[in-house]
Subunit: 351 residues, 4 copies
């Protein structure tokens, strides 16, 4: 904070995986102090009861959202399920209009109320806030985020697929109509709800596609791709579940518009030069998801296909860090005036 004191932080929804990842990062953030953690169904418990890895640390007990005094809070992370979030944030701002909010749900990512209604099947409940929200992809919207009161942290699939494509669409270097995104995610992206389909025995030792042709996060892709291209873009996007805890790995198939694959690589290298959390590999190399695991890094690569005019992009993030809570802290750093990398210096764990 400007006055040198620590920022007072609340995490709403601390009992899920993005919530616990926020706590993990914020406990070691030199400028942040955790003053409230909420978890409706687990209110009253200690955080260590819910996530024993926190047993050695001192943390506020879990409470309900109603119990939080937002007047004493500088910034709220909202890691709640879709739809309930809009009401909660509206209420938070009603109680404390000057608080900052970084929202990890999908509720404020789509600027167009019509698009929101199309993808989510109901009208948005906080249209003013929807208009106000900054899209929290720092490398693209850094300036807007700095001034924002409400930041909509983008999804993990979308963060990973937007970053390598936007510079190419902006430059007119690829055909907007033939983009294919084959995305693979680790299991922690599916959350901590007890569902049969997420049991170890259901998802280990195999892979499968899900939400084929209909995944809601395509709305975010369309929005950002279209904005970059200056005209409507609707890529093919298919997510897959992979038996690993963390990681998003997007393989993107593109057709160049005149440009050569080397040109695509140069465009990306130029665009992200100096970015602390984006690393563009040498032309012809692709990353592995494990090379960013546990870190806030995006790694990407460009490879020429054997047929001229076709190229393959690969982009990878840790879905809980750059794909969720790490990016949220990066947004917090901008919003509160901390150095952008503060508390996010962790290097990937491999193995």
């Amino acid at each position: 904070m400007a006055d040198g004191s620590k920022a007072r932080i609340a995490v709403l929804g601390a009992s899920g995986y993005t919530g616990s990842e926020l706590v993990r990062l914020l406990l070691r953030h030199p400028g942040a102090e955790l003053v409230a953690l909420t978890a409706d169904r687990k209110a009253g418990q200690a955080m260590a009861d819910v996530f024993p890895q926190f047993a050695p640390f001192s943390l506020p007990r879990l409470v309900t959202i109603e119990e939080v005094d937002f007047s004493g809070v500088d910034l709220v992370f909202c890691a709640l399920p879709h739809a309930t979030t809009q009401d909660v944030i509206k209420t938070v701002f009603d109680k404390a209009p000057k608080v900052k909010v970084v929202d990890l749900s999908a509720d404020f990512r789509l600027h167009d109320p019509g698009m929101y209604e199309k993808w989510y099947g109901h009208p948005h409940a906080a249209l003013d806030l929807q208009k106000e929200a900054a899209f929290g992809l720092v490398e693209i919207y850094r300036d807007a985020i700095r001034k924002a009161r409400l930041v909509a942290n983008p999804g993990c699939h979308t963060t990973t697929a937007i970053l390598p494509v936007v510079p190419l669409l902006e430059a007119g270097a690829i055909d907007p109509d033939t983009i294919v995104i084959d995305s693979k995610t680790g299991m922690s992206g599916a959350g901590r709800s007890a569902k049969e389909a997420m049991l170890f025995s259901e998802v280990s030792e195999g892979i499968h596609a899900y939400s084929v042709g209909s995944h809601r996060h395509m709305g975010e892709l369309d929005q950002e791709y279209s904005k970059a291209a200056g005209r409507p873009v609707a890529p093919v996007f298919v997510p897959h579940l992979v038996p690993m805890n963390r990681g998003i790995y997007a393989t993107l198939y593109v057709r160049t518009a005149g440009a050569k694959p080397e040109d695509l690589h140069r465009l990306l290298a130029d665009y992200y030069r100096g970015e602390p959390f984006v690393h563009v590999l040498p032309f012809g190399q692709v990353p592995q998801s494990r090379h960013v695991r546990g870190s806030n890094m995006v790694m990407m690569g460009v490879v020429a296909d054997r047929v001229s005019g076709r190229a393959i992009l690969v982009s990878t993030t840790d879905n809980l860090v750059k794909g969720a809570s790490g990016q949220a802290v990066q947004n917090m750093n901008l919003v509160l005036g901390f150095p952008e990398t503060m508390g996010l210096e962790q290097i990937a764990l491999m193995p």
Copy 2:
């Protein structure tokens, strides 16, 4: 066999994963008797020393290829590395011209010597045999295989990617120039050689693409797709390594040529009706790789994309069974006159 006796079988290269899978299947095949197992570097050892799961069973000791008396053998499975294979099989036929051979390497899959040289970087050493070999994809070449002396068992990625596409190309239902194949494989497909890159700690808890833009098995895809389309086809193909033992999972992105996605589904359902080892799911459903694990089954599905004219095909096999040793036994059954499903009835293990 026609006379009711058991077929005498040799497995060359029994110390690798496709070799051990052949032994697993053939030990329970009512018409087969294992009379020779070879493993050059492990000759002299018992099979149970190399694969302890066989300890309870009686099996021939491992010997070198030179020690095998091929005159007493009805059929040879060749599970040796690429390139050495051509010389070995030439020698086998020199010694025993009437023996049948099912080859699991890539050596005899490409009919065009020029294509072989292009993908493998050296001229083929057994051109006559290359001409003679049947491509061992039973569902497409059943009749030719029945009459063949030498069957070239197709690769795991290619088996999985050819079966859902050939009927559509033959029918002119999809655009041959925009096919994208994003294929994912389990680790057993990488074989049993001690390589740093295949250590548990290198490949668990992550995913990555490999041989991007340059995988050799594209030669097989080109050959079969082109034949089906009646003109040259060169799809985009990117394989990925997934932290699981078994499974190939191919997500195929196609553009329809006039047809609707439902038409693609109907074409596949018709083409494979009655096939014992191909199961086409209802329109709109996709399989999971674990639903075929341990079985000789291919499962496939067709889904419409949200944009008209685009469809997503998913196809999955167990890389060691239908993608290698199971299909090899299926080929043996045809070549030796056994019922096609004999010894291949195992149902997928899930979990």
Copy 3:
């Protein structure tokens, strides 16, 4: 069956993992015909909706238990949760006194009503049946099982820990008071109920002990160890969850009573000579759980510790096969007069 017809089989609780494993085995059993599958909450669905690996096969639809006509059934497998089972089986026998039952729950494994009440916290609801039930550990109680109407299939931890110890206690070769059993199980043993603690992200990439000092299956261990020793035995037993689908791996620490470790090995080798599903490794060798995965085999080994008088036994099974459904089919084979190994010939999958 004696008259050559197929045995008509019902599986109660077909939507769990032991249920689906029974279906997998019985679909390929030459003497069995599946005539009824029940699943209370999923009644009305096709088995393929619940377990897509069965999509290629023809199976009865799932029904409630009330809908089953037991008069047309020869044998019932009961794969239901503890406690409900006793009432269900009582009702089944009331309706069809001549039907045979193989029960996979813990309800009929303890012969002593007092012990049942101690471990399960309530009186047994079917005392007569409890008295009548045979303990379904074939290698020890083969003759009793042949004559039984009701067989209590033992648990997976207990099957794995009883087989290597009973012969040693019977021979007086080890000290009954210092047996330590450190048992490790794969996740499928925890069943298919949607529980947070069984999510992939909760149990992959780690290991932990559970029910330390209080696991209910110790009742079975005590019963069988005490019977073998001829006096009360209460071993230490701690189960652990390992991030794998299948497998029980018990490491047993014993002190010899005069005997040498080699003597323990000889006792086991003699005891299990000729058993189709028990393999005793050479002295000094231990098995790996993957060497029995997917098979009905038990593998065990004996190693001398560095200090005289101490030995280590290792025993391993596939918890869903020899530890549950495979052993249940083995019991069915005895009860119905089929060859004991029928339908259980599958060899372990490795990898």
Copy 4:
């Protein structure tokens, strides 16, 4: 450093997993500067070629040990294989007698030359140094380590098994003759050498014991247990390989000597009160290995067995952090006068 400058650090053996883990930790250590990284067979390569997760960071190129100028180095981490280490460290001290060394191999852990020779099969090549070396288990030998020139960082199994037992033996609270240690380790503990037995397909989906009755690290256990007990102790110790990357999980079976299990718990809680890296759970609770993954924490628990006089201890660490490189940095912090927790604040990643 006392003068406020950064300590100049060399890592010998940077291409293995403990080496890369040292680099990961030291890159973020405020007091350390990496000035030399060695890897004999990979000399000349960039660290990012060997471990791509370091691509975004600036690091010295890999060189041979001979190329390092030790006169400009304050502390050397030695992460080399057993046996070669003694010669290397002797040479390092010859060249630069004032440098400090933290050795991660087993070479200097045993104080008794006879014991070394017994376990390793050959005489020690640097007897003076062996005598001088401090045993680097900080919580027990903190004062000696502070003054040491050479610290022998203990093994991962031993760190995990020594910490919960030494306080109990010192207090005479448990029987030294009946300790059983069933230890489980993740795969990264087996190192990065390309060995068939460590391939993903060999070690995933299963568990197995190894070095049963003969693991060399028993020498360290004997030494430390005997010292604590004041008389010779030789526990039973069996290590197991578990399909996970990181983690040591030791289940220890003890018999109390008069004491109650609650007393054991109180002894441990008292002994480790205030320790930053040891967390004793409430009586009756046990940790999971994933609750310390990626952190320098040891978590331990004590549970009473159902039979009086028997107790179960569970202790867990991350084998690459507290079990190797994290503890090595903790030792460096003591030796160089940094705060003990500096650079080791990372909280466990779960999931």
